[in-house]
Every structure is written in C-alpha cells, then in structure tokens.
C-alpha cells in the first residue's frame, strides 16, 4: 500500500506562491473580500508565510519563508478530535476531508498545530463569470463529497494532496490494466512549483524520490516534537 508524501526543499523554494495559487485553481478555494481577508479568512490551502520579517528579529539574519500545505500527519491531531469522522486518515496515509459530513464544529482547526484547516465562514462565491473557471472534478462516494467540489458554507476544508488526481491516475491505470506509475499522481502545487522545490511520491517505495530525499541530512518535519509524524517533509536551507 502506498504512503503518499511530499518533500519541500526550502533551499530551492523562492516563496513565489505559485503553489498557493495552483492549489486555488485546482481545488476551487474561493476568494474572500478584502474585509474578510483582513480577518485572516483567506482560503489558501497552501500558504506561504514570511518568517522574521518584522521588528525585533536579528538584523543580520536573512529573512526566511515557509510554504505550508497539510502535513498529512501519520498521527494527526485533527482526526483524533473530529466527532463525526468527517476527517479521517485513508489507507494510503492521506488525511481526507468529507465535506458532506462535517458539522463545522472546528475542533479539528484548533487541534491542528499547523493551522492548515480552513473554515467556510460564508458560502463561497465567485463574482460575475469567474465561476466559469471552477474545476469540475469531484470525488464522490456514498453521498459523501471530497476533492475540489465546491464546499458549502459552514464546513472545514483543507489540502487533500489533490486526492482527485490520485483517483484520476488510478482510473487511468485501471483502464489500462496496470499499477499506477510513479510520477502519474502529482498534486497541482508540485506540478507548478517554480523553484522545482516540491517532490511527491510514495514513501513506501524505497526508490521513490521522496523516500530518498527524506533520508537526506537536511530532512526535517515541522514540529517534530509534537509527535504528529508529518508526511510532508521539509529539507533545510543552505
């Protein structure tokens, strides 16, 4: 069974936010009004943050940036607390989000130490014609809803490792009667990365690029001490 994982090389990342926006267009995250944005209600599943740009930091040090999708923790605090299993960890290690079931209690959002979960404060909307660019893909099952399908108001959403792309790749492989090949399933943010800083693959496969990079000396995980065991792995700068 595959264990999907992403590696992000911070040495190559140039904080361009291409990943953020690729994710938006792939996954139909709505634009919020400037007033909403001021409240921090933007919906970018993969945000890029400046670190120590502000006053009070060490002047001589160069600024740093962090790009942050969901960590797809192997021990995910979000999953533990969800009362209705609207978020759950799948067989292949992806932490799913079921929009049809979520009751919007936001327990997961406060439990996730990485702040990667986003709540639909209002029903998403697109102004005059912009909705035409929405991605029609959606993952369905037993009346449940995942993937880029438009989310209703009041539910939580987050990075899914572009789960629908996995389904697509798998459907293609199945149609051709074969196993899914490495490189066939690539999330949108990985595909677009301008610095070629993002890698994706199967941690279970020792030959995959992510397995190999995860062994590098530079490899680390965010909040390793929290014991969440992220499958999104970073490589240090320098």
């Amino acid at each position: 069974m595959a264990r999907w994982s992403m590696v992000i090389d911070l040495d190559k990342c140039v904080a361009c936010q291409g990943c953020s926006i690729a994710c938006r267009f792939e996954n139909n995250t709505p634009i919020v009004s400037p007033e909403e944005a001021e409240l921090g209600r933007e919906m970018l599943w993969n945000e890029v943050f400046p670190l120590r740009a502000e006053e009070g930091d060490i002047a001589s040090e160069q600024s740093r940036f962090l790009t942050r999708p969901c960590m797809h923790c192997e021990n995910p605090p979000c999953v533990k607390v969800c009362p209705v299993q609207a978020t759950f960890i799948g067989d292949e290690g992806i932490v799913h989000q079921n929009y049809a079931r979520c009751i919007g209690c936001r327990f997961c959002t406060v439990a996730c130490p990485y702040g990667v979960r986003y709540f639909n404060w209002y029903a998403p909307s697109w102004e005059e014609g912009l909705e035409q660019h929405l991605n029609p893909d959606r993952v369905m099952g037993n009346g449940d809803l995942e993937g880029p399908a438009i989310r209703p108001r009041g539910v939580v959403e987050k990075c899914t490792y572009c789960i629908h792309r996995l389904h697509k790749a798998r459907a293609r492989a199945e149609a051709e009667g074969r196993e899914i090949r490495s490189g066939e399933y690539v999330p949108a943010c990985v595909q677009t990365c301008t610095g070629k800083a993002r890698f994706f693959g199967d941690l279970e496969d020792p030959n995959s690029i992510v397995s190999q990079l995860s062994q590098e000396r530079r490899a680390f995980r965010l909040l390793e001490e929290a014991g969440t065991r992220p499958k999104t792995i970073y490589l240090e700068e320098g």
Binding site: A15, F25, E38, A53, K80, I89, L130, P136, V139, Q191
Partner: protein
C-alpha cells in the same frame, strides 16, 4: 561523543525496548484515529465530459512561460506550465496560475466603443468594428493627405515576437517614426550599458546552469528581474540541481525575497552600484586575477591609450586603480571594504562567474549614472573573461525570421519617417532610443500629435508623474486605446478597441533568457468571450481600408496568416508549432574569441559608429562618437556627472536627487512584487490581490517599508498610517517595519493605487509613481525612477 562504555548487548536491549515502545505507540494512535466503519467504501470521480489541452504562452510578465490550458466542457479551468517550454519546464508562477481570472474577468471591455461625453467622464457608446476600422483609416489617411503622417504616434508596452516589428512597420507604412516602446521605463539603461561596452543592443542571457558564482546588482532576480522564471529555474539548478553548489550574492538596499533567498545579501546605498562594481574591478586588477588574454586581445581601453589625434586617454585599469580603492568606496556605498575585497576575490576565484546587469532596479536613477552602472557591472564580466563562455554571459539569439519585405515606394510616408521623433530619442536625448514618458512633455511643448495609439500601454498610470499625460492628451485630438481593460489612459481615449486577452488570440513570442533561439506560440485556447479583435488583425484591416501603399505594405489577410508566413523558417512546420506551442533550437553554441562569428554576432555587432572589431569597450568608443558630435555647450547642457575620459569609462555619478536630504531623508524605492508585477491588469485579478503583500503579511493594498531603527527615531509605529511625501506630492499608506532594508530607503511596492482598470484594482492602495520625479534623464531619455527623495510622517 558516543558513550564508549555502552556495550553491544546493552545497545541491543536498548533498541529492543525502544522498538517495543514504538510498537505500542504506533498502535495507540491507530485506535484513536480509526473507526470500524470506513466512511467511504465505494468512491468514484466525477468530471467534465469533454476535455482538451491547448498550449499557449503566458503574457503576464516577460518570462513568457509556456502554458497548457485545460479546457473542460468549453471552460478554461486550469493553467499548467508546459513541460516542453525551456524557460519554465512545467512550472508556473502565481500570475500564470491566475490567468483564468484574467480571461473571465468581469471588468474586461466587451466590445469596441466610442467616447460620447467629456474625456475621462466615462460615457461611451458601442460601435461596430467596421466603423472603428473606417474611423481610424480615415484619420490616418487624413494625416497622410495633409502631409503629416508623423503626427500619428503609437506607444506600446511589453511585446515581443512579430508584434513588436509589426507595430513599427505599420507606423512606418503610414509614415511615422513614432512607434515608441516603453523600454525607457525599464530595460533601456541595461541595454545601453551592454551596447556602449559590448556593442550589442540587447539584454544578454546568462548561463546560470554552468555558473559557479553570481553577483546580482539590484536585479530582483527571484521576484521580478527581467525574466523571473528563467532566473528562478537557473538559480534553483545552481543551488541544488548539480553536484557543486554555486553561490549567489545580491546587492540591494532592500532584502526582499531575492535577497533572502540568495546565499548572501549585501545592503547597499542606493545609486552607488557603479562604485561598488568598480571597487571590485580594482581588487581584481590589483590582485592580477583578471583574464589577461581577454583584456589585452579582445578589449579596448583597458590600458591607457593614445587616440588618432595623438591625445592621451586614461585606460580602465588606471582609472579604476586610481579612483576606486575599496576603502574609499566603502564611504560611498556603505559596503565594508573587507566585504568588497572578499566578494571580488570569490568572484574572480570561482569562475565561471557572472555579474548580472539589472533589468531596471538600481539603474534608472535619473542621471547618466544608470547607464554607467550597467557598464561598470558588465565590465566585471569582461574582466573575468565571462563573455561568451559557459557559465558566463551569452548573446540572446532569435529564431530565423525573414526580414520584413521592403516597404513600397510612398513619398508621403518616406517624408514622415524622416521627421523628428516625438519622444526626442536620438535628438533631444542623444544617446537614447526610446523616451516613452517624455512623449507627454514633448506633446505639451508643442510637438504636434494628431493621432495617438496606445497598445498595451497605460502611460497615465505607469510613468512617473503620469498625470501629465492627461494634460498632454488634451492636445491630441484623436486617441485610440487597444486595451483589454478600461485603464487610466483608455479613460481619456476617443476609441476603446479592446484586444482579446492573450488566451484568446494568435501571437508569437521569442524565448529570451537562455541564449539559444526559440519561439513560442499563443493561440486562442477558446473562442474569444467578447466582441474583441486582435490588434494585429485590426491594423491589417485598417491598412486595407486605407488602400494604396499602406495596404500594399501590409498584405496579410490576418495576423494568424502573418505569423504563418513569418515563422516558416524557425525549424518546424505550423502544425507542430500549434501542437507543441513552442519550438527551440537548444544548445547554445559559443563563438570562439576573435572568430568571425564573434565579430559578427557577439562583440560590437550592433555598433552604429564605433568599429565593429570584436573588441569589448572598457572605454566606450561608441559613446565618444555619439557625444563627439555635440559642442561643448551642448554637452554641458546635458549636465554630465563626469568629465573628460571618465565620461566614457564606467564611472560613478552622484545621484542628483529631487528633494534635499535634510527635508526628505529617504530615497523612494518602488519595487516590483512577484504577485503583481508592474502590469496594470494584474492588480485586477482578485487572487493576486489576496496574496500581493505576502512578504510583510499584507494584502489588498499598499504599504511602505521602513527600517525599524529609523522608525523608532521618528517615533513611528508598525502598521500605522503615514504620509509619504516628496517634492512632487504625497500619498497616504500603511507603514510596515522591515528589518532588512537600508536605513536611508523606504520601499513602496508597485501596481496598487489604480484609478481605473476594474473593481479589484480601483482605489486600492497608492501609486508611488504619483510622487515620483517626472523628469527624463538628459542623455538617454530614461525615466527617473530612483532619484526621488521623500519624508515619512504620521498621518
């Protein structure tokens, strides 16, 4: 150190224990995370029924990345980077990703319109394209009949490929020399710097993949730069794509993302890059680590020399040794002498190394000093022999396109073409080739303009003190804007003739930044959404309507046909080009020093007056030829920042600031962001607005960056509202304290503060250009982007 007494047995026991507890620990979370009933036993994917992928080229910035458009059920739903395109190889920055918001933007112009009310009052009526064509054709014919075709002028923005030549040809066919590129707002200084030294009038390419050491002078390589995706890919490869990691050093008064992501960021006093580069030359010469073959055999003016009249001239070497000792330059630049020496040593010692001439950044400082800076930086490349070498500077080659056919004999047009240029380039500004922003001054000074065309140009917004264009427009009876949006300039036009977005039209693009030639093709990814017309098609139809020699000069049926015709020799057929969207001739072939190719293509090829002898000019012979025509008085009127030989050698000029240092303590630095860039319509893509201020955690607006220590002295607080005031005006915005910015500089990101364009761009933040020195540089006609001083105080 490991505890030596830890025996093997103990170690085994230990690890067994660890493993045991690991087993417990890995089941425990399972219990917490799992539930017996899997919520999704049967899962399927629903998607559109009809999909296709169309290749095209991004036009949101000059990188020109290849794109693949995913069309699902007739809608554009996603952009991906084209893996075939050599600039981005599958990558796409946020602007490219956001392109669907451009296509479906609700504020686009939906059809041709004629103004009905006062200029700028916003009253328009729809007209038909035929009517528009007739009107324009009549107007141009009227000018031709009056014997003044030169009174038609066209201002154009960022455009490459056939369109650039086509616009110029159209104007020439009509009989006007006035096709004015906006180069004087950006790359002109750099181009001139390369031209006056290497003799090539173009931006070079840099072989970053093979370079060991990169110096960047005020080129925001990772955020803006000339071709951001090209430099991002190159530097990413330099850092991690190969065995030995290269080093990138950025000189910039503001760190920004480019500084942050460089191996070293060095803060520099603005406008002093030339001194810094020359101090590094000084160190390299002193320590003898220059490429002596190159400087002696393929360069001119390294040593002192005598000219034909027997007059003694100072050579680069002695000039630099005498004037640019690092300790002295430390006083000028604020960069410690030890740092200068160290970086110079590293630069010379880690060849191939390359110094990047900025596209704009620190150059446009309002005096000839900007060009001198480009020359100085480029001399670093020459000194270490990095011209036309792997890992060094390359010449940008272009696809093989036939020359445009001879223009038909047309006396009216020929006379017009000889007229003085509206922008004064080559006359008022003896060294310049374009002086875009000066068009307003010249029109106001009485140069008669009777028809003005704006193609991808928004001078009211994008030039320093652009408001003067509104006054200038009053003198121009007929103005046509081809803009896709009702931008600040189009608001004053008589006809608004919208072009479809780049996603809906035929256009080609030359691939720049890799050296080797390549062409990429834009094609309509879907039928145009609105009643728009490719400006190429429009001008072709106007020419037909005008008839006579103009029609003869423009014989193509459509712009698409023109492209087919002109791209027939690029190496592939039209079908392949439309299918792949890109064609390259990969592998840059370096010319051997002194070879015929070297002389014809690499050094001196574009010189108009100085010898094309394959010698790199440390002492600019071209410049001395150009300025040699001027009388002493004329020269003095240009207020040169250096005299004698120094003027022709790369030198440091003191920036003449507008606004005294006492009253206006800060240099205003308007910077380009990755998210918005300088192009107006980017500000009307809501997604880009949302991420626009990531570097400081702002969004949907402007801010001014200041060093916290300076702010503390002024008693200003982070995030408070402040006035930024220059001698030309003031704007109010939010103060953001940023640790890594020069204490004498405040930075204001560009491309906010629009007065038009659309709902998301309008009335959001401030436009730094409104308070900028509107003057043009006297030698070259460059805009003055960096010689304005401001004060900042609480609002």
């Amino acid at each position: 150190m490991m505890n030596e007494t830890l025996s093997r047995r103990k170690f085994l026991r230990l690890s067994a224990g660890v493993m045991g507890s690991a087993a417990v620990m890995s089941t425990a979370p399972r219990l917490l995370n799992r539930l017996a009933s899997d919520p999704q036993s049967a899962v399927w994917l629903e998607t559109s029924t009809n999909e296709r992928i169309v290749p095209t080229v991004c036009s949101m910035c000059p990188s020109g990345c290849g794109m693949l458009a995913r069309i699902a059920d007739g809608n554009l739903v996603k952009m991906e980077g084209s893996p075939m395109h050599p600039i981005n190889v599958g990558a796409l920055c946020p602007k490219g990703q956001a392109a669907p918001e451009l296509l479906y933007n609700p504020d686009r112009l939906t059809g041709p319109m004629r103004r009905t009310g006062e200029r700028g009052a916003g009253q328009w009526e729809p007209i038909s394209w035929d009517e528009a064509i007739q009107t324009v054709a009549d107007k141009l014919n009227e000018l031709r009949q009056a014997g003044h075709p030169e009174r038609a002028a066209l201002l154009y923005g960022e455009t490459r490929g056939q369109m650039r030549g086509f616009l110029k040809r159209f104007m020439e066919a009509v009989g006007s020399p006035n096709a004015v590129s906006h180069d004087s707002l950006n790359i002109e200084a750099a181009k001139l710097g390369i031209y006056l030294t290497q003799g090539i009038y173009d931006l070079p390419a840099y072989d970053l993949e093979n370079s060991n050491y990169v110096l960047s002078f005020g080129a925001s390589l990772l955020e803006a730069g000339r071709t951001p995706q090209r430099t991002v890919s190159g530097l990413s490869y330099m850092h991690r794509g190969r065995a030995n990691r290269g080093k990138v050093v950025t000189f910039d008064p503001r760190e920004g993302v480019s500084g942050a992501k460089s191996d070293e960021w060095i803060s520099i006093k603005p406008g002093t890059d030339a001194a810094l580069a020359l101090a590094m030359c000084n160190v390299i010469i002193k320590t003898g680590r220059f490429d002596s073959d190159f400087v002696h055999n393929y360069a001119f003016g390294f040593q002192d020399f005598k000219d034909d009249d027997g007059k003694d001239h100072k050579g680069f070497k002695n000039f630099v040794l005498e004037n640019f000792d690092p300790r002295r330059v430390e006083q000028i630049t604020g960069v410690p002498a030890t740092t200068i020496s160290r970086i110079a040593g590293e630069f010379a010692g880690n060849r191939p190394s390359v110094a990047i001439v900025p596209a704009k950044g620190g150059l446009l400082n309002g005096g000839f000093g900007g060009v001198a800076t480009a020359m100085a930086v480029h001399c670093l490349n020459a000194l270490v022999g990095s011209l036309e070498t792997p890992g060094g500077v390359q010449i940008q080659r272009y696809p093989d396109c036939p020359d445009w056919p001879e223009l038909p004999a047309d006396s009216a047009a020929e006379a017009g073409r000889e007229a003085e240029r509206i922008d004064g380039a080559g006359t008022v500004f003896p060294v310049g080739r374009y002086a875009y922003q000066a068009v307003a001054d010249r029109a106001l000074d009485g140069y008669p303009v009777e028809a003005m065309f704006l193609y991808d140009a928004n001078p009211v917004y994008e030039t320093p003190g652009g408001q003067k264009f509104i006054q200038a427009f009053e003198k121009i009876p007929f103005i046509v804007s081809f803009a896709t949006f009702m931008d600040e300039s189009a608001e004053y036009a008589d006809l608004a003739l919208p072009e479809p977005t780049f996603l809906e039209r035929w256009q080609d693009d030359y691939i720049e930044g890799l050296g080797y030639p390549g062409v990429a093709l834009r094609q309509p990814v879907l039928e145009p959404l609105h009643d728009t017309m490719n400006t190429g098609d429009f001008l072709l139809q106007v020419a037909q309507k005008m008839g006579g020699p103009v029609a003869q000069a423009m014989p193509w049926d459509s712009f698409e046909a023109l492209l087919k015709d002109r791209l027939q020799n690029v190496g592939t057929d039209w079908e392949t080009l439309t299918e792949l969207g890109v064609w390259i001739t990969p592998g840059y072939r370096f010319a051997r020093r002194g070879s015929e190719k070297w002389i014809n293509e690499v050094v001196g090829a574009d010189r108009r007056r100085a010898p094309r002898d394959g010698r790199f000019d440390f002492f600019s012979r071209e410049l001395s030829c150009i300025l040699g025509d001027l009388s002493d008085d004329e020269l003095a009127a240009l207020n040169p920042g250096a005299s004698g030989d120094a003027l022709y050698l790369p030198h440091q000029e003191d920036v003449i600031y507008e606004g005294g240092e006492k009253e206006f303590p800060f240099v205003l630095n308007v910077v380009t962001l990755m998210s918005l860039g300088p192009h107006s319509y980017n500000a009307n893509l809501p997604t880009l607005q949302e991420i626009s201020g990531m570097v400081v955690g702002e969004r949907w607006g402007s801010w001014v960056e200041m060093n916290p220590e300076t702010a503390a002295e002024l008693g200003l607080q982070n995030k408070q509202q402040v006035w930024v005031e220059s001698p030309f005006g003031k704007v109010q915005t939010k103060l953001r304290l940023v640790k890594n910015i020069h204490r004498d500089v405040v930075a204001l990101p560009h491309n906010q503060g629009h007065k038009a364009i659309g709902r998301w761009a309008k009335d959001r933040g401030v436009n730094g250009l409104e308070i900028m020195n509107p003057a043009s540089e006297l030698f070259t006609g460059l805009a003055s982007f960096t010689n304005t001083r401001v004060k900042v105080y609480a609002a």
